[in-house]
């Protein structure tokens, strides 16, 4: 053939640095095999397949990660490699001309563009054009410092591949080459989210087949492509013994012991791999080669983390085995925990467990972030719809909705203005539409639309008002604020009240001042002190103050005057600060705050009945939605749900960043799904951390600490999405249970929209009886609220495992739970003054 004269078998003295243009593309229509030559012929080798962003992680630090390409190249085998490998079969002889390679990006030079081209070639078969690249150092043993140099291993020399798809806990899929000589190459980590070709391939799959999954039903990842390409040239057989092992051209013997054999003791098999099989071939492998490079990496990281963290705090002891045997912990970690060094460490530092818990969570958060980039398909949605009640695993799927929400744009001022008739200023779309937009998209934080929209959400303006009415309303509100403010001011100056009143008022003023001076001082508006304090007797007289702090103080004192039965209670300053920061007008902010407080008043009642009520509802909700978790919390003495106290009291103000709080609150104010959506936020947070809680947290103090420390670590948007899907699941559960219990299925949607009369809603002090009449006629036990949150009152689950409840009562929806379907819990009260 024409090109045969080009073939040369002399190995290159050293890899030359060829110019890319030379190697880039060969247009010759030749027999492909014969056009491929070694570097000495200055022709390069043929690049069949490549994938970018495949990293070597030489150290535990992400900074040291080395990006590169995994590639499949074709070249004439070196004569020596043929001669020195006696047991090579004819099949393997062919295989030796194909090499599986890894090349660091930095080593590619001008060939980089060729690698990229091949990576992005959207073809199932080798590119018709021949892409030639400089040859790679062929090797079967790995000795170089990790990651510094490229390597290329002939397929004939590969014994097995250790393949780990990305999974919960391991957000980078990885691949390790084990050679017949018994060496393991460094693990190659597929950073799929950075790899353009993998992203495109995922999208394509989703588009064409509605199947985001790769082989074996897992999420498609870069490693799938590698295996697919290898299969074109070699026999790739997945081990029955250990599903992470793929044998390359296995011998019959190998097949017997690894592939088709029915070995059930997987742990024994695991310990054999990867050193086991190679040891048989080439004598005992060095100890280190047997160690999974994965393990090496984790071991180092983990050790440092544990050591540092365990110095900080101490928790009560748990045995290492408890975690080590837990099936939810990734196997690598489990194995790690069984190593003697770690066990010693755990014994020395009791706190290791809680930090493991946190660490485990951060890993799964990472992986969730990765998964969120997945393409959501019709199939998934369908699955979601068909999901059975009470099975929580589905949640992982449902979080995929997040990406939809992320794409939802916030409502801008322009869009907002478009909701209203330009002449009358009357709303010209339905309230429901507006609320849906705000619930899902939020309001633009920068263009001032909040200033306007919040007044509707907080019912300062009626939704059906026109421009003139609103103007008039605001004018009278301003007057009213001045009057209220004047009232306490006058009293302060003239002191015309009883000594007792005077005392109470002074106390309240001190409390307010103290709290205002420690509320959101990191926000520029409230930072610093630039004016002298007006009152020389104040504890802050020396510190000074600023005008916004003084405004805050006045508004809270005015509220104290406006709603004297409740008065100022700690936590209110947290609720006022964002309202004021958005409005920056004390009278307007005051009335917005009054609107907010109508919802929140129940949180601050003297007898704490409103907080108890909500904690009890949360108790019922967890019982219904996640009975297993509930049992665990029971065993941990934690069903008082006290660890949600702070979150519920000030609506997650202390848990999220300022900007997220504003976003969250407007979603909650919209009452779009329920007027108690904040409880679904709590449930979403709990669910997100459920595995960690169940695996690691055994006592009330541990649960409380863990939940408290979530503060400022949570991403709001995924939690909102999770809470929304939980609400829908809840709704479906209620409907399913109602059906099952032969209730005349209550038309829930109609129920919600039916205007209720004023007397029906007293959210804090009495039950929303308007809905409870549906449920209380059956087995619903009326919860004994005087005893505070108590388990197993509202719902009796039919779970066999419910302790002390052997009578399998049918599931019944408690009045507390049924109230969660309402959207009008707060706005039917007299809006002209405080409820007394």
């Amino acid at each position: 053939m024409a090109g045969s004269s080009n073939v040369q078998f002399t190995p290159p003295p050293s890899p030359p640095s060829p110019t890319a243009s030379f190697f880039d593309v060969s247009d010759e229509e030749e027999d492909e095999y014969n056009t491929i030559a070694h570097a000495a012929a200055k022709r390069g080798v043929r690049l069949l397949f490549s994938k970018s962003k495949v990293y070597v992680h030489p150290t535990p630090s992400a900074k040291d990660n080395i990006p590169g390409f995994i590639a499949l190249v074709q070249q004439k085998p070196l004569p020596s490699s043929r001669n020195n490998t006696p047991s090579i079969s004819p099949k393997n002889a062919d295989l030796s001309s194909y090499l599986l390679a890894w090349v660091p990006e930095s080593a590619l030079g001008d060939a980089y563009s060729t690698y990229v081209k091949v990576d992005l070639a959207d073809d199932d078969s080798p590119p018709r054009q021949k892409y030639l690249v400089p040859p790679l150092p062929e090797t079967t043993t790995y000795r170089d410092p990790i990651g510094l140099y490229a390597f290329a291993v002939p397929l004939s020399q590969i014994y097995s591949l250790l393949v780990r798809p990305p999974s919960l806990g391991w957000w980078f899929g990885s691949l390790v080459i084990n050679t017949r000589a018994g060496d393991s190459f460094p693990a190659l980590f597929f950073h799929d989210s950075e790899c353009e070709s993998t992203i495109l391939q995922k999208k394509k799959r989703a588009r064409e087949t509605f199947d985001p999954f790769g082989e074996d039903g897992n999420v498609f990842w870069g490693g799938d492509e590698v295996l697919r390409w290898l299969r074109r040239y070699a026999e790739v057989q997945r081990s029955n013994v250990d599903s992470t092992v793929y044998l390359i051209n296995p011998s019959e013997e190998d097949q017997l012991s690894f592939g088709k054999a029915h070995i059930t003791d997987t742990s024994a098999a695991k310990s054999k791999e990867p050193s086991g099989p190679s040891a048989q071939k080439s004598g005992p492998a060095p100890h280190d080669a047997g160690m999974d490079p994965f393990m090496k990496a984790i071991k180092e990281t983990r050790w440092k983390v544990l050591e540092q963290l365990s110095k900080i705090t101490t928790f009560t002891r748990r045995t290492a085995n408890e975690i080590a045997d837990n099936p939810r912990v990734p196997p690598q970690v489990r194995r790690l925990l069984k190593t003697p060094e770690i066990q010693t460490l755990q014994e020395e530092f009791d706190s290791a467990r809680i930090y493991l818990a946190r660490w485990a969570m951060s890993i799964s958060e990472q992986s969730e972030r990765e998964r969120n980039q997945r393409i959501w398909t019709a199939k998934d949605v369908l699955e979601m719809e068909n999901s059975s009640v009470g099975d929580f695993e589905i949640l992982d799927l449902e979080t995929g909705k997040i990406s939809i929400h992320e794409r939802r744009k916030p409502v801008t001022r322009k869009e907002w203005e478009g909701f209203f008739d330009p002449h009358t200023g009357r709303l010209q779309v339905t309230v429901e539409e507006v609320k849906e937009r705000i619930f899902h998209g939020g309001l633009d934080p920068n263009d001032g639309v909040r200033k306007e929209a919040w007044l509707y959400l907080l019912e300062v303006y009626p939704w059906d008002s026109n421009q003139d009415e609103r103007q008039a309303l605001m004018n009278s509100r301003r007057d009213e604020y001045i009057r209220l403010k004047g009232a306490w001011w006058e009293r302060m100056v003239e002191g015309d009240s009883t000594a007792e009143q005077q005392e109470w008022w002074k106390e309240q003023r001190n409390r307010i001042e103290k709290d205002v001076h420690r509320t959101d001082r990191m926000i520029p508006l409230f930072a610093g002190e630039d004016i002298p304090h007006p009152d020389p007797d104040s504890p802050f007289a020396d510190t000074g103050t600023n005008v916004h702090l003084e405004q805050m103080k006045d508004m809270l004192l005015t509220y104290n005057e406006y709603n004297p039965d409740l008065g100022y209670v700690q936590g209110m300053s947290d609720l006022l600060a964002p309202t004021y920061a958005v409005m920056q007008d004390d009278a307007v902010a005051f009335w917005a705050f009054v609107g907010f407080m109508k919802r929140m008043e129940r949180n601050f009642l003297r007898d704490q009945s409103g907080m108890r009520q909500q904690l009890l509802t949360l108790d019922h909700l967890v019982q219904l939605m996640d009975p297993k978790l509930y049992l665990h919390l029971q065993s941990a003495d934690s069903t008082n749900f006290f660890f949600f106290f702070r979150m519920l009291l000030v609506w997650y103000k202390r848990e999220f960043e300022w900007v997220d709080v504003l976003r969250l609150w407007e979603a909650l104010w919209s009452d779009y799904l329920t007027s108690n959506f904040h409880l679904f936020i709590a449930l979403a947070i709990l669910e997100k951390h459920r595995d960690v809680i169940m695996d690691h947290l055994k006592q009330f103090d541990e649960v409380l600490k863990y939940i408290n420390e979530l503060s400022n670590t949570m991403d709001l948007i995924p939690i909102l999405a999770r809470a929304e899907s939980l609400f829908h699941r809840f709704e479906r559960s209620v409907q399913a249970i109602d059906k099952k219990n032969n209730f005349p299925a209550p038309p829930l949607s109609a129920q919600q929209r039916k205007p209720t009369t004023r007397s029906q809603t007293q959210p804090s002090s009495s039950h929303p009886n308007s809905t409870s009449n549906i449920s209380t006629n059956s087995n619903a036990k009326s919860p004994d609220r005087s005893s505070g949150p108590s388990p197993s009152r509202g719902i009796s689950t039919a779970l066999p495992s419910t302790p002390g409840d052997n009578q399998p009562d049918p599931k019944v929806i408690s009045p507390e739970l049924r109230a969660l379907l309402r959207k009008d819990d707060f706005w039917n009260q007299n809006s002209d003054g405080p409820s007394t």
Partner: protein
């Protein structure tokens, strides 16, 4: 390994809002002071390991919200307490006058087996503030403490780290003594057996 003999001592800090409970806890555990601690909502705790007469103990120090109405939920974490710290602000007589009711409230909610002997420690905080602002004299505070069964009394500045270490040393001792009495008197601990068993890991 000496760490096997660990004892967990639960300490509850109570007192009016703004007297410096959070600051005292953080000064003791983290050696830090910040003027901008937010008002505590709910409850939180920090752990600190200390040596008391060659015994390694872990103090679990609970910080609480100061407004009275939030105390009714305290049951959740008062139980199993080994010592209760009552804090007031020496520049605020109201906070001093409230000490008695804080003490009563604690005894009701925690219901220790022997309320008479349950260890309290009183701390008068914010002594760094100029003398002219001071409302409660040392003498008055000490008289009060004596009348309540010789409660140990300390005057501290969480801001300037004055006397904080000393106060907590006594708190640790009192708590350890309390824990040992309970262990000694052969145990009934209302928390839960699990919890108790853990602590007994050290009861050699």
């Amino acid at each position: 390994m000496s760490s096997r003999k660990k004892v967990l001592l639960k300490v509850i800090i109570l007192g009016d809002s703004g007297v410096g409970k959070t600051s005292l806890m953080n000064q003791y555990v983290n050696k830090k002071f910040s003027a901008s601690y937010k008002a505590t909502i709910g409850a939180d705790f920090l752990n600190k390991e200390v040596l008391v007469d060659d015994r390694l103990v872990t103090m679990q120090i609970w910080d609480t919200a100061g407004q009275e109405r939030f105390q009714s939920l305290g049951v959740a974490f008062y139980r199993g307490a080994d010592c209760c710290v009552l804090v007031y602000d020496v520049n605020n007589s109201k906070s001093f006058e409230a000490l008695d009711s804080w003490r009563d409230e604690f005894l009701i909610q925690a219901s220790p087996r022997d309320p008479e002997s349950f260890p309290f420690v009183v701390i008068g905080n914010k002594i760094d503030v100029e003398e002219s602002k001071r409302m409660i004299s040392s003498k008055r505070a000490m008289t009060f403490c004596q009348s309540k069964g010789n409660i140990p009394y300390f005057e501290t500045s969480a801001k300037e780290a004055v006397n904080v270490e000393q106060a907590f040393e006594v708190i640790a001792r009192s708590a350890l003594a309390q824990e040992e009495t309970e262990e000694f008197s052969g145990e009934y601990n209302p928390i839960n057996i699990h919890d108790n068993a853990e602590r007994d890991g050290c009861a050699c």
